[in-house]
Amino acid sequence: MANQDYETHEHDVLVIGAGGAGLRAAIEAAAQGVSVGLVCKSLLGKAHTVMAEGGIAAALGNVWPEDNWQVHFRDTMRGGKMLNNWRMAQLHAQEAPDRVLELERWGALFDRTKDGRILQRDFGGHRYARLAHVGDRTGLEMIRTLQYHGIHQGIDVYMECKVERLLKDGDHVCGAFGYWRNTGKFVLFKAKAVVLATGGVGKAWKVTSNSWEYTGDGQSLALWAGADLIDMEFVQFHPTGMVWPPSVRGILVTEGVRGDGGTLKNTKGERFMFNYIPEFFKGETADNEAEADRWYADKKNNRRTPDLLPRDEVARAINAEIKGGRGTPHGGVFLDICTRRPADYIRKRLPSMYHQFKELAGVDITKEPMEVGPTCHYIMGGVRVDADTTAATVKGLFAAGEVAGGMHGSNRLGGNSLSDLLVFGRRAGLYAALYAKDFGGPLTVESSHVESLAREMLEPFTRTGGENPYAIQADLQETMQNLVGLIRTEHELREAMKRIESFRHRAARTHVDGGRTYNPGWHMALDLASLLTVAECCTLAALERRESRGGHTRDDHPYTDDSWGKINVVIRQRQGALALSREPLPEMPAELKALFQERK
């Protein structure tokens, strides 16, 4: 029995995840005067948010006074191919500027305009230069600011601690159970409200910009607790990841390179994006190089360069160039900024890209083009939430940041994640705290349930002759990469389902060596449960949606279908099995609809 011992902590609000969304939620909940616990798998300040490069989208109007929340809202909805939850997109566009200014009051130092205000840069799909940024290390500035503000707010931080399951009492969430990575000891959190802010799922793919943390834990925790997931078919493949050398394949090359003047070229030296302008964006996209180049300085009289089409469009175009035999020998295309901007400018605007290519690829980006190709980057789908309160469909559970679905529809615009984290992180913290204050009953956790969970978690140590968990992860990544990638088709998706099923059987028989102290083999064995769950959800939803839209492209259903444009694919777990349903998208009110009629 001693092995299953656990320590217990109690909080009004437990926030799981300490990236931008989790930190902002914890700060807000603490400001409401409730007791807050904040749990994260890595050390504080190392969450994915730290890696974000390009910037935070907010219609501050500092560079282009014409910008405002309506334009940002419209760009976001169009980028998401109108599948976004309109209310989330509206709140996001309205509140992002205040959230950015608040970061500044907490010590963030964004790059400045000449008159001392926050400078904004161009990014794909944004009509105006809109991204507040610090060179190409915006996420670092954001997470440090939140982290250092947060440590003075009386929040209890549990670092290197992984939540394995949410606990429920009847119909509501009452806490979470997990383990300390350092010691392998178990820990029980009792909480009136739980905020999920656990990020994404990218580690299910082989070529990804995502870290080991992205095993879909939050999506799985929610699903297992009975909550709905939506839009899981929409996975963003960022058009520009590194492709060479092999060991860095997938590492992100910020869209800021194109925002600051870089352009994509094939091996014939053609700026091929001009050949891939979809009907939907024709009106606002330049169709010749001269106009595209003028656009950077004069947005009034010129249309946007097709290099900055939304990511789904650019990723598909690159894929087509490579398939068409116009890719580089390493399987990418060229991204050229060296012939277009002076070396000083490149080093000043993109210092970490300069460093990254120099150190990891031996390429000087002020002298040579980069080689880039699509990389799995972000999941638009996730936990279904109420737009205003971020409440999931299970009582006491809230979700914000990448783990939540709806905000970005079928495709996210660059820069809209960091702003999403701030806007909905704050709302999650606020509404979770209010819920906790209203919560009447006692917090009851059934100890036999917890003990059986603990026993299950220790099984990989006691099995004999089981499998290496790393091998299962590698096989899953290979499968998702090849069969549930950028371009999908029914028979491949069905094949993926079969393989995922077989990985499940293998995952139930893993064996790990060593003890419980900081044992990554054991951690991986446990992570497989959520990794397989989200892989299955993505594949199932991709099978269901028989059209192409945003981050979901079906070779066998290559067109966008208006009837699918009114539907979310919803996944929930009932009696241990996944159930799928098509549910209507919330309808946008007339005054917002009008915004889409005004312009071409």
Partner: protein
């Protein structure tokens, strides 16, 4: 190609030693890739920290052939095929297991730093800051908290008794960044002297040498702090510096 021998520290607080692993080299590999390869194929339980694999998160600090470095930014082609490469945990902090150490000292020190206290906003409710007034602080904000500078600082490494009253180079630049912040109005002088212990630093510059972000920790951070401390004995000079902003204090 000849194989590399990776001599990796394996063990925990109760003891341990180096163990050799043979690894096939591959173009462009960094030390962290090799550690991951070993983890996936030869020693599933080999403990290390990492997140970004691109020098952005500061998780993967270790001592490679005795030098404190980020494993993800240390390319294997630094070494000759056939070489033996040792990988050990950073030394200054208590060992948890293999390449993972207990860096909680740093999180304790972080909490002690008195935060920003803002001056009132402009009449329109916003703040203005000029780029040239924040260039220096933005340099400090590049810190990825890898704690390599903390690892090599002899005050932390060799003087257990001084740790209580010494924040270390990472936090000296944190303090400097707050102190030079154009909107800050807080007087941290007693904290800097008594709690952060900037006086214990004797400017060996070891911290600056290992910083993977190339932050000029000593020249731009610690030395100006020490100068300010000398000035802060005179409150008028302190106030003048504070309100003229960072430019005036660089001279």
């Amino acid at each position: 190609m000849a194989q590399f021998t990776m001599r990796v520290f394996r063990g925990d607080a109760s003891g341990g030693g180096f163990k050799d692993y043979r690894v096939e080299p591959e173009e462009g590999m960094v030390v962290l890739d090799v550690i991951h390869r070993i983890q996936a194929t030869q020693a599933n339980d080999l403990a290390c920290r990492w997140n970004c694999k691109a020098g952005k998160c500061g998780s993967c600090s270790a001592e490679v052939n005795g030098k404190p470095r980020l494993m993800c930014m240390t390319r294997m082609d630094l070494f000759q095929p056939g070489d033996t490469i040792t990988v050990a945990p950073i030394r200054t902090f208590p060992l948890i297991r293999d390449l993972v150490t207990d860096v909680s000292y740093n999180y304790e020190k972080a909490k002690q730093v008195p935060p920003l206290r803002l001056k009132p906003p402009e009449p329109d409710g916003t703040y203005r800051m000029m780029q040239e007034d924040i260039d220096r602080i933005q340099e400090f904000h590049k810190c990825i908290e890898c704690f390599l500078c903390q690892d090599v600082c002899h005050v932390i490494r060799d003087h257990e008794d001084k740790k209580r009253v010494f924040s270390g180079p990472r936090f000296f630049i944190k303090i400097a960044s707050l102190d030079m912040h154009p909107l800050d109005t807080r007087d941290r002088s007693s904290f800097i002297q008594q709690d952060a212990g900037v006086g214990l630093c004797n400017i060996t510059k070891c911290c600056t040498e290992v910083c993977p972000e190339n932050i000029h920790i000593t020249d731009n951070g610690i030395i100006p702090l020490k100068e300010r401390m000398a000035d802060s004995l005179d409150p008028i000079v302190w106030l003048l510096r504070k309100f003229r902003g960072p430019k005036s204090s660089q001279a």
